[in-house]
Subunit: 411 residues, 2 copies
Amino acid sequence: MIMLSIDAERLLGRIRELGQIGRGSDGRLVRLAATDADKAGRDALVSWLRTAGLEVAVDRIGNIFGIWRTADNADEPPVLLGSHIDTVINAGIYDGCYGVLSGLEVIETLKAAGHAPARPIAVAAFTNEEGVRYAPDMMGSLVYAGGLPVEEALATVGSDETTLGAELERIGYKGSKEPGFLKPHAYVELHIEQGPVLEREGVPIGAVENLQGISWQRVTIKGEANHAGTTPMTMRRDAGHAAARVVTFLRDRARNANTPTVATVGCMSFEPNAINVIPSQATFTVDLRDPDEQRLQVEEAALAAYLKELAADEEVTISVERLARFEPVTFDRKIVELVEDAARRRGLASKRMTSGAGHDAQMIARIAPSAMIFVPSIGGISHNPREHTPDASAVAGANILLEVVSRLAAE
Amino acid sequence: MIMLSIDAERLLGRIRELGQIGRGSDGRLVRLAATDADKAGRDALVSWLRTAGLEVAVDRIGNIFGIWRTADNADEPPVLLGSHIDTVINAGIYDGCYGVLSGLEVIETLKAAGHAPARPIAVAAFTNEEGVRYAPDMMGSLVYAGGLPVEEALATVGSDETTLGAELERIGYKGSKEPGFLKPHAYVELHIEQGPVLEREGVPIGAVENLQGISWQRVTIKGEANHAGTTPMTMRRDAGHAAARVVTFLRDRARNANTPTVATVGCMSFEPNAINVIPSQATFTVDLRDPDEQRLQVEEAALAAYLKELAADEEVTISVERLARFEPVTFDRKIVELVEDAARRRGLASKRMTSGAGHDAQMIARIAPSAMIFVPSIGGISHNPREHTPDASAVAGANILLEVVSRLAAE
């Protein structure tokens, strides 16, 4: 049996072409949602969708769909593939775009091979996944899944004081379809891992079975500013030292736990931040993630208990502000098994894994059986011009998507 | 025997009056060196010196001297008292000014009592002790002691791009005397403690026997920025965590040592300082102080060894920049004993102690037997509008100075 394969050159060529759209004079790739650069990217995608003979639809939040239906399957719920084509500032070329263009590639390949799927196959590019210009992130898929009213999303004011609705209208991508108009039979998102695991373990395919829950908190510790030379060690209420103890506590706990829990202190600032003054205040963020909601709650409680103990021990006052909280998402077991099976059939090793980052798939999972496929990111680097996935890996991932979609569309 | 005492009201009144000079419309006290506000403070001081019948002299770096000499003692080296009247931004009213005005008060008291000292007594206000506008701090006394050529000091460019020499000229305090023109027989500086020890221990007089050595370093740790969600704990090179380990190492070591060593991390910054990115870089300062040079070197070596071990352990690179280094100063034992003796005679408890802060006395100690007298700072607070020493404590300190100076001037 000769296996069907996608057109590697076409896929890789489009990834590179889209990756040139939105580069400034400094060479940096920036296609923030609903900007002129995003419009240019969208125009390129729509032109490819049309050339492939797909029906193009845009919904009210600007999500773009390329739909392949036949007379025989038009009434069936479609298999939906997708991701996003908006980017962060100074982005790489793979994040999101790889999934959208692979979805298109898979449809074109099946179409050209004379395939007759039992249900439509569609590819989606969701609006504003990155959330750099407008918060929250994953906005288009959230609205599509009914998690945020479209009017509210369109009224969002961005970091540049613009309004998303007006900007979508301006660039011609405020569509008329009601978000959710296509109710998917299943949703599959192919994406770069954005982490180091697949590369380090030498595994080409990640069968993503779940997505971590995220807990973001901002901690403020208040002590007492005092002269660094004249205040004995025993008479200090050093907010900076107390903050350092939290950093090592979180790291030691997560590292010793032998669980997938990750804990990160990414932001830190001291006040008054003077070389010869004991810090009166330290403010820092805590990013806790775990694929298990129960365990995430245990980690949050452990931090809270430690902060209480620390406040007494260091004679400091500690306040905590919750910045964000998402429960973990469990993907559809059957689709995950299809991914593993497809990898086996193509002779590729696969690994069940957890997505540490947020993706549109976690929103669409609310309305349809969903899963994700990961391919390696060199060095785990993403949101960075050095973001890279080798051509062979990108092609292998798209072929796995092809295999999985064929099976889902045959159901 | 009735003991001579200073005029408490006159001293306290002048401290308060000088403390009103240089307040902005926001009520904050700011008399940075060689500004208009500094000129106003200097003018007030000079007027008090003249009213007291003292000979006023200003040297080339702007140090002001009020000299009391008689026909009988004019050829003898003088006893010098002093401190500074420049301030930090948003200062209290005692730091420096208390010592200068007490010096004047002591001279006036002795003069009025018909005292006939065996040698002249002079009071000095040294230029730019705080070092806020022009670096380094303690500049006037450093130049006076021959530690910095006067031309070099006058050429110093300030944080506001002005030149000290031009600014001194502008405010009329670029004098003609050569720094060092008065070679002191002894130097005594009365100062607020700026630390919490005297108040907490209920001791009114500090007999300052030495001054800590200071080691300032800036440490930069470089790790690797990575996604906070997708990078397992074991695959991280977290510069922020490594920095936190240094903070707790320094604190634990200094606290457990049972020595006067103090260690402070006052400045800290993370890069890229984003909630969901593992810090690629952490930069922080280390302020180490110890009255014993040998021990200070041991502490520096211990930090260096720890950083080396840490770099290997956390797979980070660490670089260290030396920002400042002063060896400890040992004050004159005989003057310290005079201070203790004076306290005993006035029925006051005293405590031998170390100055944790830098003072003009450490510079003048290079050219003359020197020591300091401390009085309590409420809450240890200084460089702050809440800086406070109770009236009775301020008066008691000035009377101890009076006693010590009488003895030194009789030698």
